[in-house]
């Protein structure tokens, strides 16, 4: 992870993509979101979705996984260049998650994250908080997920900052 000090508003990162298989969709749903339209093709065909589709939580969890994989690759590159690596801290939450279009079997979703705001964390001098807008778009260019999340990120200098 970049240090908080090096993160700029407007930065966009391409996190990669994921193809949702029927097996994948059902396995997630059976554990965490066992609705008939996420578990069974025939039930899904009778539902308002029309076809088997992924849980929105599944679509969001894949964003998380791709984000962590992306950060890990970045960190490895930084270490290879002999640079220090910042820590990604906890997240207070997210808002405005929209699933404007279902994710159907066989859909490939491409995810991105964009920094929209950054500010120091007043009560913890060694940390700042960033707000990011996350999106996932299917192979037809249609948005399938978007949300705004926040996370604490380590500062380069663990000293009180004046800002």
């Amino acid at each position: 992870m970049k240090f908080f000090d090096d993160i700029r508003v407007g930065e966009v990162s391409d996190l990669g993509r994921h193809t949702f298989t029927a097996e994948d969709i059902k396995s997630f749903a059976a554990r965490f979101d066992p609705q008939p339209f996420h578990l069974d093709e025939a039930e899904a065909a009778r539902s308002h979705f029309g076809r088997l589709c992924a849980s929105g939580w599944h679509t969001a969890c894949i964003w998380m996984r791709l984000l962590i994989d992306f950060r890990r690759r970045e960190d490895e590159e930084r270490r290879a260049r002999g640079e220090a690596v910042g820590q990604l801290g906890p997240s207070p939450g997210f808002r405005n998650l929209e699933g404007s279009q279902p994710v159907y079997v066989g859909d490939t979703v491409s995810y991105t994250t964009e920094v929209i705001e950054r500010r120091p964390w007043a009560s913890r001098p060694g940390w700042g908080i960033i707000f990011v807008r996350n999106t996932g778009v299917n192979q037809h260019g249609e948005p399938v997920i978007s949300f705004t999340s926040s996370a604490f990120v380590e500062r380069r200098e663990r000293e009180p900052q004046t800002q």
Binding site: F32, D33, P34, Q35, R46, H48, F49, I68, P90, S100
Partner: protein, 163 residues
């Protein structure tokens, strides 16, 4: 046939689901698949983090809430999914051995303007620990089928009926 439809919800209703014991093994298994950060995977690394010990991923909290709510409430309703999630606040981490309860409070109900077969129920969902301390708070307005709705056959396969 579902027992509860959109008409059966009214503001102020509270449903509790659980409690459920959260194990170290399931915290690590979820993290390995969807959120492989050290504080969710490895006790020693987690001790060095801001959390001071192993904690569940926030997305795991969401998934646990969804599963508990489905088993304890949604499975007997005409639940049709939600077009989004308004807000999630991760207030405290889930640690191994925690006993958590899910709680749903109905805030308001609203008929769909474009789809006479369904309505929205705005819910505040909470995950609390054994001493009623909040772990997570979530605002969401899922869709529920109406009691007298005809079969959705022929309906548009869309997740967002307002669009």
């Amino acid at each position: 046939m579902p027992r509860l439809h959109w008409e059966d919800f009214s503001p102020g209703q509270v449903t509790e689901c659980g409690p459920r014991l959260i194990t170290r093994a399931e915290i690590i298994a979820f993290a390995a698949e969807y959120d492989p950060q050290p504080m969710h995977l490895d006790e020693a690394a987690a001790r060095a983090s801001l959390f001071g010990g192993l904690v569940a991923s926030g997305w795991h909290s969401c998934c646990l809430l969804m599963r508990m709510l489905t088993d304890g409430m949604l499975a007997e309703t005409s639940f049709m999914g939600a077009p989004g999630v308004e807000e999630v606040q991760w207030l405290a981490p889930i640690r191994p051995g925690a006993r958590v309860k899910a709680r749903a409070t109905v805030l308001e109900t609203r008929a769909s303007r474009s789809r006479p077969d369904l309505g929205f129920v705005k819910l505040r969902l909470e995950l609390v620990d054994a001493s009623e301390q909040p772990i997570m708070s979530l605002m969401v307005s899922p869709m529920f089928g109406r009691r007298d709705a005809r079969s959705p056959a022929g309906a548009q396969p869309r997740a967002s009926p307002e669009l």
